[in-house]
């Protein structure tokens, strides 16, 4: 069966980690063609062609695709859909914007955030903030699937697929891009980092979030946050981990001043080792932590940073 994998392309570059993880899921559904769309996406296409197990790469190079606007991107997918039984993408905010739109245009359901591929028509996905796992079987002629990247290993390199240009599918001009506010950071990316250090409301202020960041830098970790920390302005929105933020599964997750609400657990409970530092011994986070330290974070975190 033919699968079209929409690559994650940001700023003209391939997001290799997200795309390679979705590729692993896509390969379980059939023969994979990767689509790179962007304004000047040749580099991304070359990078995608090197991923192991890609049969072909399509490159849709047009100004309309430069900022990932949902309307032209969905139209592009629809224009190519005829040749494929599956359209797959990593479950990034970009794909979650585009895939449901394309699915409705094709009169099929979208299957969001798939965590396992049972067979080409059957998928597992977490529901209720990960408190239940549902297995769904699609009867649609086309399956449109976004993939939860934290549960798939990245496909390796070593491929040498051919790259083919495809025509753009026009732009109805329903929306236009104004600006992106993207924080530049030298830290590892949150969803692919091996270690994540997250702070919650207990941290108390934006200034004191520096404690979390210092520990993160010592561990070469990405920084995460609870919703309460983001809502209170201690941390930017793209650091939020949880049901409505990012889903992470690092080797080590350190939760500091975070109570452990189910909505937060939804985003990190598949981490290999969880450490919790909280002054309240009753905090639910301790029920999922491998190592819990009941302590005041303002004393424990600097001490930990120093002793590592």
């Amino acid at each position: 069966m033919a699968v079209l994998l929409l690559a994650e392309v940001a700023g003209g570059e391939l997001s290799v980690d997200a795309t390679a993880k979705a590729l692993t899921a896509a390969k379980a559904m059939g023969d994979v063609t990767v689509l790179c769309a962007g304004a000047g996406c040749g580099g991304a296409a070359e990078a995608a062609a090197k991923l192991d197990g890609v049969s072909k790469v399509l490159c849709a190079d047009d100004a309309a695709y430069g900022n990932g606007l949902a309307e032209p991107m969905a139209d592009l997918l629809v224009s190519l859909a005829g040749d494929y039984e599956h359209i797959v993408a990593p479950a990034t905010s970009s794909a979650k914007n585009i895939l449901p739109r394309a699915a409705a245009l094709l009169d099929v359901m979208v299957i969001s955030d798939v965590s396992a591929v049972v067979d080409a028509n059957t998928f597992e996905r977490p529901i209720y903030a990960g408190n239940a796992i549902q297995t769904v079987k699609s009867s649609d002629a086309k399956k449109i699937v976004s993939v939860r990247t934290s549960t798939f290993d990245a496909a390796g390199e070593g491929g040498s697929a051919a790259v083919e240009a495809v025509a753009a599918a026009g732009n109805a001009g329903l929306s236009e891009w104004v600006e992106d506010k993207v924080a530049e950071s030298d830290r590892p990316e949150l969803t692919s980092a091996g270690v994540v250090v997250s702070g919650g409301r207990g941290v108390g202020s934006e200034e004191d979030f520096a404690l979390i960041e210092k520990l993160a830098d010592k561990l070469n970790a990405a920084v995460g946050a609870s919703r309460a920390a983001v809502d209170s302005g201690y941390a930017p929105n793209d650091w939020q981990v949880g049901q409505t933020g990012k889903v992470v599964a690092p080797d080590l997750y350190v939760a500091i001043g975070i109570s452990g609400a189910i909505q937060h657990l939804a985003g990190m409970k598949d981490s290999k080792i969880i450490v919790a530092i909280n002054k309240d011994e009753e905090a639910p986070i301790f029920q999922v932590a491998d190592y819990g330290l009941v302590a005041d974070l303002f004393a424990a975190v600097p001490e930990l940073t120093e002793k590592l």
Binding site: R101, V108, G173
Partner: protein, 266 residues
């Protein structure tokens, strides 16, 4: 003397806002998977309005208060009990409500594609200038309905909004995305799906709860709109995720460091 200010055309042509609201298990309830694997137990559990939809209702009411909307219509598709959810929207300040009964069993959920098709039929009838939906429903976490509705209408879409500014024929939407924030300008009419930080929803006051009981609530069925709500996805099973095994409490930072070294985590 200068004559009085000309009648405000904006106001005269102020738009209607449609807000789809879903009845879901309350976010504080610990969900239980049924032993036979057929789904999640929804009998006798507290149900509430999807939290994202409260934010959408709040935003619609604020647009009305700012003179940018003339009427706020809340819609829910599902079981008869979704009336309660709509009454909550009315108590917050929506003007009227439409309930589309599409299932008898509280355990039956309607897929986003079918919900979007029903909403499209309602949009064709009501002609709103804006649909404000939630980004995702916290039960199925599908994150799809608003985008699907926008596609079926051929409208623009502003998904995951944390800021919304409507100005005549356009809306400026700031979206929460993986890398940070993205601002786009969309043509009206439009479908916007709201994220958590757009606003903080108000609580309905007791007098408003009483008033809401008298506000109009129309009952329809999916058949009234000629929409086929039969599912495209068959639920094969619903299972409990693997539980993490309880860990240990360490006594000091030194012990924590030692344990992490032992586990090879650092």
């Amino acid at each position: 003397m200068v004559s009085g200010v000309a009648p405000d055309f904006e106001e005269k042509h102020a738009m209607k806002v449609l807000v789809p609201v879903k009845r879901v298990i309350d976010y504080n309830v610990k969900v239980r998977v049924k032993a036979d694997g057929s789904g999640v137990d929804l009998a006798n559990v507290k149900m509430s309005m999807n939290p994202f939809d409260e934010i959408a209702v709040e935003q619609a009411i604020r647009l009305k208060e700012a003179g940018k909307a003339e009427e706020v219509v809340a819609v829910s598709i599902g079981v008869k009990q979704a009336q309660e959810t709509l009454r909550t929207a009315l108590a917050m300040g929506a003007d009227r409500a439409i309930l589309v009964i599409a299932a008898d069993d509280v355990h039956q959920d309607i897929e986003p594609l079918a919900v979007a098709k029903t909403l499209k039929a309602i949009v064709d009838e009501e002609q709103p200038g804006l649909v404000l939906a939630g980004k995702q429903a916290i039960d199925n976490d599908m994150n799809a309905t608003g985008q699907m509705l926008s596609a079926l209408l051929g409208w623009s879409q502003g998904a995951f909004a944390s800021e919304l500014d409507i100005d005549g024929d356009n809306a400026v939407v700031t979206r929460e995305v993986d890398g940070g924030l993205q601002t786009i300008k969309v043509k009206m009419p439009t479908v916007v799906t709201v994220d958590l930080r757009l606003n903080e929803p108000r609580y309905a006051s007791l007098p408003n709860i009483m008033k809401a009981k008298k506000k109009p609530l129309d009952e329809k069925t999916a058949a009234d709109y000629g929409v086929d709500v039969s599912p495209r996805l068959e639920i094969v099973s619903t299972t409990e995720p693997e539980a993490r095994k309880a860990g240990e409490i360490v006594g000091s930072v030194d012990e924590l460091v030692a344990k992490l070294k032992e586990a090879g985590a650092i």
